[in-house]
């Protein structure tokens, strides 16, 4: 994880560069332009909050930054790589090595223990079984859930499940974390725990984080807040 810290110091180029990005969904004959000509830079080590009304395109933008979806127009590079040009298989491999995802509803595998859930992304690496177990344990320790390693998601609280999901997101040591309303399903206390954890990952481990949220209190944990309205960025890089 120190590699990321070094990268912050050594590299002043933005981690994410978005130029003139548009996204159009086609429903039969209807065309729905969800994002209009977005320009955005996200520096290494930043913690971005993305806010805006429902349907404004936050998830769409976040999914594109995370390489889950491709823009209709414009360019999108992450760490110098044009991910908008990548094919599906290439993108899958890129995600495995470079991005961690955190979702509103945790999206853990219900049949697997916390430990096995965290090990999941490591199955795609060349690590040995013992290495995978060790790395997953470290990640679980980082989110403070070592004692719950053998619990199934159904045996954990919402906040604990989200922390397991965060452990899964960081276990392969990606530079970028994308989080879609990570506290949207949590009570205040659990939300604060999760946000503090994200802040620590940002400050101590150099993770660049983009987080969609509806909650202004949550946005306060970020270093920048961005507003999206009807597919357009209305306010850029307002420093808190």
């Amino acid at each position: 994880m120190n590699a990321a810290v070094e990268a912050v110091q050594n590299n002043n180029q933005p981690l994410v560069q978005i130029r003139n990005l548009s996204k159009v969904y086609e429903r039969g004959k209807q065309k729905l332009e969800v994002l209009h000509h977005i320009d955005l830079d996200i520096a290494r080590g930043d913690f971005f909050a993305l806010m805006g009304p429902s349907g404004s395109g936050k998830t769409t933008l976040l999914n594109m930054i995370g390489g889950l979806d491709s823009p209709t127009d414009g360019s999108l590079s992450v760490d110098g790589k044009r991910i908008d040009k990548m094919g599906e298989g290439q993108l899958a491999r890129w995600r495995a090595g470079n991005v961690g995802f955190v979702f509103q509803f945790y999206n853990l595998m219900p049949a697997l223990s916390a430990q096995k859930n965290v090990e999941l992304p490591l199955l795609l690496t060349r690590l040995s079984g013992a290495q995978r177990r060790k790395n997953a344990s470290i990640a679980l320790q980082l989110v403070g859930l070592s004692d719950r390693a053998s619990h199934k998601p159904s045996e954990l609280s919402g906040g604990q499940q989200q922390r397991v999901a965060i452990a899964r997101a960081i276990v392969s040591d990606p530079t970028l974390l994308v989080c879609d309303e990570p506290t949207g399903d949590l009570d205040r206390q659990s939300a604060e725990e999760v946000l503090t954890l994200l802040q620590r990952l940002n400050r101590e481990h150099g993770k660049t984080i983009v987080m969609v949220t509806h909650d202004p209190k949550a946005a306060e944990y970020a270093s920048h807040t961005l507003h999206l309205d009807k597919g357009t960025l209305v306010e850029q890089q307002r420093v808190v």
Partner: protein, 387 residues
């Protein structure tokens, strides 16, 4: 196989459904294990006679139709024939019509054609000397608690005696063991003298049912078979000379095309199984769409999740199927024994295992393919949003 626990977890996600599906797979392959060798035995009936040292000569048209006795000397004269003798079907029952006894009247040297019939010399001599004497297989004797010296009346379902009586008296003079390589069920057979049968029965015109011949050299089987059939070519009693297994198969066809019937039953069972497991797999994938989307999010490729789902359906089939066939292997000898030899199930051999496992793999891929392709093609963002 580091992904195995993922496949296993997917199966165990709905334990009850998985167990019931596995049970139906198990039942289908239990049936497969019990019946496939029956089907193969009754459908193969290969026409080739090469490599056997014993041939059966029957009427070309129907095994019910007899053959003239005069043929015996002619067959014996064909070079390469070591020994030939004849037998007739008797159709005996003991005491009760459900006690069917596999009984044949045979020529004086017929038993010598079957070295696997292990009969003590003294008993063999006694048989030769006794007009109404009979030798019976060990299992048959055990079934009815017959001992040497017992007087046994058998009724013939076909042949009355000249006095109109359908009951034929016999005396057990020998009990034989079935040696190595004996045909299935040989130790259930009841042999007696054709001479007794021919003299006493009301309507047989002195014909014999079939001939069995032994060869000097198995390599001569083809040539001898042709020579035998040539003897009666264009006569009113044309013959067909074939191996014993082909003969047995055509004999059973008198009852019905067993191979076809068994094959049809198995096809129906497997068709149902495909629908059932196909439905299970479709359901299993449908309810796991969000999970599969997460796997893809984490970097599993389309082909990766395709393989996971296929692995799941193949594993489902393999577990149920292997247990089913193992059960068949255990149960088959029991069925044969328990039925007192009335039902003869061949053991589940290596060939059947191989065929069974191939069938499991094929069905597994077949029923997994559509759901697996759905998983492969799944668009992550839509699946995550529940679209």
């Amino acid at each position: 196989m580091k992904y195995f626990h993922l496949i296993w977890a997917a199966l165990m996600r709905r334990k009850t459904r998985t167990i019931f599906t596995m049970l139906s797979v198990l039942a289908a392959f239990l049936l497969f294990g019990l019946l496939n060798s029956v089907r193969v035995a009754f459908t193969s009936g290969s026409k080739s006679v090469a490599g056997v040292d014993r041939l059966v000569v029957t009427s070309r048209y129907s095994i019910i139709q007899g053959l003239p006795q005069s043929l015996q000397a002619q067959i014996a004269n064909i070079p390469g024939v070591k020994l030939v003798d004849h037998a007739n079907w008797f159709g005996g029952i003991y005491q009760d019509p459900k006690n069917f006894v596999l009984s044949f009247s045979v020529g004086p040297h017929y038993l010598d054609l079957f070295p696997e019939i292990e009969l003590p010399d003294a008993q063999r001599k006694a048989f030769d000397a006794d007009r109404t004497g009979a030798v019976v297989g060990e299992a048959l004797a055990e079934r009815y608690h017959w001992k040497i010296g017992d007087k046994i009346p058998l009724q013939s379902t076909i042949f009355p005696q000249k006095n109109g009586d359908k009951t034929w008296p016999f005396e057990i003079v020998g009990i034989f063991k079935e040696g190595k390589n004996g045909a299935n069920g040989l130790d259930q057979v009841f042999f007696f003298h054709w001479k007794y049968f021919d003299e006493a029965n009301a309507f047989n015109g002195h014909d014999v049912g079939w001939y069995v011949l032994r060869l000097d050299d198995p390599k001569q089987a083809d040539r001898v078979a042709h020579a035998v059939d040539a003897l009666s070519a264009n006569s009113d009693h044309e013959t067909r000379t074939q191996t014993e297994s082909a003969f047995n198969a055509s004999f059973a066809k008198q009852i019905g095309d067993i191979g076809l019937i068994v094959g049809a039953i198995m096809a129906a069972v497997f068709f149902t199984l495909i629908l059932l497991t196909g439905n299970t797999m479709a359901q299993a994938v449908r309810e796991r769409i969000p999970e599969l989307a997460v796997l893809k999010t984490l970097g599993f490729t389309g082909r990766g999740v395709l393989a996971l789902v296929l692995g799941e359906s193949v594993l489902l089939l393999l577990i149920g199927g292997v247990i089913g066939m193992a059960l068949a292997a255990v149960v088959a000898p029991g069925v044969s024994k328990g039925s007192g030899g009335m039902v003869q199930l061949p053991p589940v051999g290596a060939g059947n295992w191989l065929q069974g496992i191939i069938v499991m793999l094929v069905i597994g891929v077949l029923v997994g393919l559509l759901p697996a392709m759905r998983a492969m093609r799944l668009r992550i963002v839509d699946a995550l949003a529940g679209r």
